[in-house]
């Protein structure tokens, strides 16, 4: 999988928040096989320096980092946060969130497109957290994005793919753009289903971090993402209404 000219083997992107402990997070990252994790920027105290310790731990894991602008509700906040992230994390990659509604944490597609344009112009490589809206997708590509990350369902809801039809239409419309389902995934079958639609990757966090056993769940998602990708490549059967015997009918003994 190629994202902004970087080749990644793993198609599972993992968030780093809400784990029971840093040790569990580290084990989950290893179990997931991910090569790309999301992080945020939060206020750091000169005395406590929580962020320093956390950042050291992540760096030791040898994974690439995708900083986010989580919590930003305006273009200005998102752009400023992106600049700070570029300096601290030493990467021009940015997961761009411009939140438009506090209940659903859904993207503000207007602010998103504007921020994506500003950041792309300043050399950022933007991973926009967006909806399945085709027209918004077109605008994001026009703004310079070369990856799109539509939601499956609201962040942390564990509902899976709320609008399969819309996600399928997006895939059909942009066959050559890397598409990543970001947010709302609850169980591995959701992730596999996203991959079966032909999506390049899946980004999740809460489904692993808040599972009873996050490390085991990370391994589960790793396998599900691979399963879904392989299935997409292997050209599945179309569903049909009637049954068709698997065992051959010809040659059946007459025992009546």
């Amino acid at each position: 999988m190629r994202l902004y000219d970087i080749e990644l083997d793993s198609r599972l992107l993992l968030g780093t928040a809400r784990y029971p402990s840093p040790a569990v997070l580290a084990d989950a990252i290893r179990a997931s096989g991910t090569q790309l994790v999301t992080m945020s920027l939060r206020r750091e105290s000169g005395m406590q320096r929580d962020g320093q310790a956390f950042w050291g731990m992540i760096r030791d894991l040898g994974v690439r980092v995708l900083p986010n602008t989580a919590g930003c509700h305006t273009v200005k906040e998102a752009v400023t946060t992106a600049h700070m992230a570029r300096e601290v994390f030493g990467t021009s990659w940015i997961k761009l969130e411009v939140i438009g509604d506090a209940d659903t944490l859904q993207p503000d597609v207007f602010g998103l497109v504007e921020a994506a344009r500003l950041l792309s112009e300043e050399g950022f490589e933007v991973f926009p957290y967006t909806t399945e809206d085709l027209v918004v997708a077109e605008r994001l590509l026009g703004a310079g994005c070369r990856v799109l990350m539509p939601w499956g369902a609201p962040i942390g809801s564990a509902r899976g793919l709320n609008n399969v039809y819309g996600l399928r239409a997006l895939r059909a419309h942009f066959p050559d753009v890397p598409l990543i389902v970001d947010a709302g995934i609850g169980v591995p079958s959701h992730a596999a289903a996203a991959m079966e639609l032909g999506y390049e990757a899946v980004l999740l966090n809460t489904a692993v971090a808040e599972a009873g056993d996050p490390v085991r769940m990370a391994g589960a998602f790793a396998k599900a993402v691979e399963a879904g990708r392989l299935a997409y490549q292997a050209q599945p059967l179309e569903p049909r209404d009637m049954a068709a015997p698997s065992t051959p009918v010809v040659g059946m003994a007459s025992l009546g």
Partner: protein, 65 residues
């Protein structure tokens, strides 16, 4: 001079951002900074003069989804 840092008020003698961060124990910490809502790159912290009432944000890598 009174400034606000991450929402808390501090009385500092420092005249620029670099000195203020030093005074407030950030030392060599990996951080990014903004003053009054505008990003201040690390290389410009020394040139960034502070005035009374400035609002400074100092952030570092943290958990994120």
């Amino acid at each position: 001079m009174r400034i606000s840092l991450n929402g808390n008020t501090h009385e500092v003698a420092a005249e620029n951002l670099a000195d203020a961060l030093h005074a407030l124990d950030y030392g060599e910490a990996i951080i990014a900074t903004a003053v009054n809502g505008r990003f201040v790159p690390a290389a410009q912290r020394r040139e960034c003069k502070l005035t009374d009432g400035d609002e400074i944000e100092v952030v570092a890598p943290m958990q994120g989804g």
